[in-house]
């Protein structure tokens, strides 16, 4: 039996005159994902993937389900337009034993077809009932909807839709710079931005010998997981020991966390500018730790030179963990090679910092020189 995969997309349909730009992007991304395994093309508001001979269709469906912008993936049987053939195809293609009720929906794109849609539905419904007397028709709330589409090239029949990830096609929303720490939150923040169609680079701050080589490896592993969703990623590894030591030696201890966040933000913004990114992304969630209070975020953002997105800002830890499991980053995130930045965490950090006070503290170190040094020593790794 010949099979074809129907790919439905949602939000893009709402676009105006630039709709085709998004559609073309989506087609390109799906082609990139499936490679030689299928022929991908667009017709009206549906995309089609025709599997090449010998390709495992289940795997193909799985691959397409990972592409952002895809709302539904539908495995479809293609057959002759003869009514008896359509009926036979449906009976062998759909596993009716799993359901109690059904309905048939017909779309007749080929208007030269001698029967009208309701008639076709009724005929096919009759054939199904004959083969499975146990089943009943329920047009309002069926367990399964069998769809028949009569087209120029043949009849398409399908029953089950599989959900895609939704969102927007990768590369349709520009590029962002993710602050990737190695914890649970930042990969999830990255995923959420990727889902909205951004390309992405990541910045990671590491402080040898206070953080280990293994912690760095872990961050690269997380970047690889994220890269599955973003289509490649460059990680900028910024050495940050000297900077932290200077702050610890010269600045008020209770300001250390916020000072560190501000310096990270400035470095990330500059690397973002150099890499052509238009925003910085962090995994902060309001009130989670001292640096994530409203006041602290305000003081941090005051030094940002571009928008800083925090897609997790309104989420609880539990929700974040559930998403981390879904995108497969959780198990890596919880590996115990945590950065021991804890060494630089003051016992009683300010939770309501005031910008004027923080700016005064910042004057005690040569911020600009330290930022320059960090950027110069940054190592770039493509994962």
């Amino acid at each position: 039996m010949k099979e074809i995969i129907l790919i439905k997309y949602g939000e893009i349909i709402l676009k105006g005159l630039n709709r085709h730009i998004f559609e073309d992007k989506l087609v390109r991304n799906i082609r990139h994902k499936v490679g030689e395994d299928a022929k991908v093309y667009k017709s009206r508001a549906t995309l089609y993937a025709e599997p090449k001979e010998g390709v495992n269709v289940d795997e193909l469906v799985q691959k397409i389900r990972e592409v952002f912008g895809v709302v539904y993936v539908i495995r479809t049987a293609v057959c002759d337009k003869d009514l008896a053939v359509i009926g036979k195809t449906i009976l062998s293609y759909v596993n009716f034993s799993a359901y109690k009720t059904f309905k048939v929906e017909t779309k007749r794109a080929d208007k030269s077809y001698p029967m009208q849609s309701p008639q076709i539905s009724a005929e096919i419904g009759g054939m199904i009932l004959e083969a499975h007397p146990r089943l009943t028709v329920d047009v309002h709330n069926p367990c399964v909807t069998v769809s028949v589409e009569i087209r120029e090239g043949g009849a398409y029949v399908y029953a089950e839709k599989q959900k895609g990830p939704g969102g927007m096609p990768t590369g349709s929303a520009g590029k962002v710079m993710l602050l990737l720490s190695g914890g649970i939150d930042s990969p999830v923040a990255g995923y959420m931005m990727a889902r909205r169609g951004t390309n992405m680079d990541a910045v990671h701050f590491f402080s040898p010998p206070f953080t280990s080589e293994k912690a760095k490896e872990k961050v690269l592993d997380l970047a690889k997981i994220l890269a599955r969703y973003t289509g490649g990623m460059r990680v900028h590894i910024v050495p940050f020991t000297e900077q932290q030591l200077q702050m610890k030696a010269k600045c008020p201890q209770e300001h250390l966390t916020i000072l560190m966040r501000r310096m990270m933000m400035q470095i990330a913004c500059r690397i973002a500018e150099q890499s052509g990114a238009g925003a910085v992304v962090t995994g902060e969630s309001l009130g989670q730790v001292a640096s994530q209070t409203l006041e602290a975020i305000g003081v941090t953002d005051a030094c940002a030179t571009m928008p800083c997105f925090r897609p997790l800002i309104g989420m609880d830890k539990e929700d974040i963990i559930a998403l981390a499991r879904k995108i497969d980053s959780y198990e890596t995130s919880i590996l115990p090679y945590e950065d021991c930045c804890t060494i630089f965490v003051p016992k009683h950090p300010t939770t309501k910092p005031r910008l004027d006070k923080i700016l005064e503290s910042e004057k005690l170190i040569d911020t600009e020189a330290l930022i320059q040094k960090a950027i110069e020593e940054t190592v770039h790794i493509d994962v």
Partner: protein, 374 residues
């Protein structure tokens, strides 16, 4: 690169590698097969067994090859104790997880396990063991040398105190760290079960041995086709076992390790705020110190960046976040700062000088960074 993590694992020796390759490539038969390749393999197995037995001054018939030290410990402890008979197992609070966690498994089966605490210097006295013993003690399991501190425990004296209270109890000793470095003499000690491992003595991973005194029947833990007296059935890992035998036959320069170790200690003592966690009469191969409150992993990372490999506590703890329960049970001032230097006779004076130099350059910087004032 300077390798001072020999208690985690050692570099396989040339002879061990030769034996490994020759066996894997040429004598690849199954020792249980009756054809020439099989008999050939059986001969290699026999020679290796003789080599291990000789090192323990015992007969080859008492040696059972295992998949390594952990497996030997498991087979010994689980095999020696009959949960249905109840009673107690006496062990120490400083055993390797291979014994510690196996004992914990026995606790779940209803056995009472007593974990004897060490003295302040990390030693376990026969008196302390004696106090824990009862008439219904089934097994006493005490390691010969502690893997974190190098403390040498008095196995022979422990056997003596057992004779008075529970003469029928079995004595097991995890000798993974001492085998090949100190005399391991089950028959002199009167021990019933001894575990050791190949890769700690310049052999390869995947091979270990369990000495099982003649006449002792261990309850089966693994079921299989009868190899290794059915205590550790399964086709023998012959290449690794051959390498184990070869490693046993090599003479190691203990005096050199002692000289290097003392040199290292002298150098380290010149650094302020250092606490030596190893006892005075330790196994020279192992030296454990704390640099005040500098966390273990920070010192380890810093030395790693300088090309020197050491470990915080034990290598097995490195993968977990867990801190050293050994140092904690001793009550040393900075248990979370313990770092272990473990030497072999392949180390050189230059390497030790380098290491001292690196420590003297790094540690004061870390003190300053962490606000530890001199």
């Amino acid at each position: 690169m300077i390798y001072l993590d020999n208690s985690a694992t050692t570099r396989p020796s040339k002879k061990a590698m030769d034996a490994f390759l020759l066996t894997a490539e040429t004598h690849f038969g199954n020792p249980s097969s009756v054809h020439t390749l099989g008999t050939d393999a059986a001969k290699i197995l026999k020679n290796a067994r003789n080599a291990v037995a000789k090192k323990m001054h015992t007969e080859a018939g008492n040696i059972v090859f295992t998949g390594g030290g952990t497996m030997a410990d498991n087979l010994a402890v689980l095999g020696a104790v009959r949960p249905k008979m109840g009673g107690t197992v006496v062990t120490t609070a400083i055993e390797h997880p291979a014994v510690m966690n196996t004992c914990a498994a026995l606790e779940k089966k209803g056995i009472t396990v007593k974990y004897v605490k060490p003295e302040k210097d990390g030693n376990i006295t026969p008196e302390a063991i004696s106090e824990a013993l009862t008439e219904d003690t089934q097994l006493v399991s005490v390691m010969h040398v502690n893997n974190e501190t190098g403390a040498i425990l008095p196995i022979e004296k422990i056997k003596a105190v057992m004779a008075g209270v529970c003469p029928k109890a079995l004595l097991h000793s995890d000798c993974v760290q001492s085998f090949g470095k100190l005399p391991v003499l089950p028959e002199t000690w009167g021990a019933d079960l001894i575990s050791c491992s190949a890769h700690k003595i310049h052999g390869l991973r995947g091979a270990g041995a369990l000495y099982v005194r003649k006449g002792i029947t261990l309850a089966p833990v693994i079921y299989g086709g009868g190899q290794e007296r059915d205590i550790c059935p399964g086709t023998e890992n012959l290449p690794a076992i051959a390498a184990f035998g070869a490693a046993c036959e090599e003479e190691r320069n203990m005096e050199k390790v002692k000289v290097l170790s003392e040199m290292l200690l002298r150098g380290i003592l010149e650094i302020p705020h250092v606490y030596v966690n190893s006892p005075e009469d330790r196994l020279p191969h192992i030296l454990n110190v704390s640099f005040s409150a500098v966390p273990s992993e920070v010192v380890t990372n810093a030395l790693s960046n300088a090309g020197i490999c050491i470990s915080g506590g034990s290598a097995c703890a490195g993968a977990r976040k867990e801190k050293s329960y050994v140092l904690r049970s001793m009550g040393v001032p900075y248990p979370d700062s313990g770092v272990r230097f473990s030497l072999s006779d392949e180390n050189t004076e230059e390497e030790i000088c380098e290491t001292i130099k690196a420590l003297k350059a790094t540690i004061p910087m870390l003190y300053m960074a962490l606000g530890i004032r001199s």
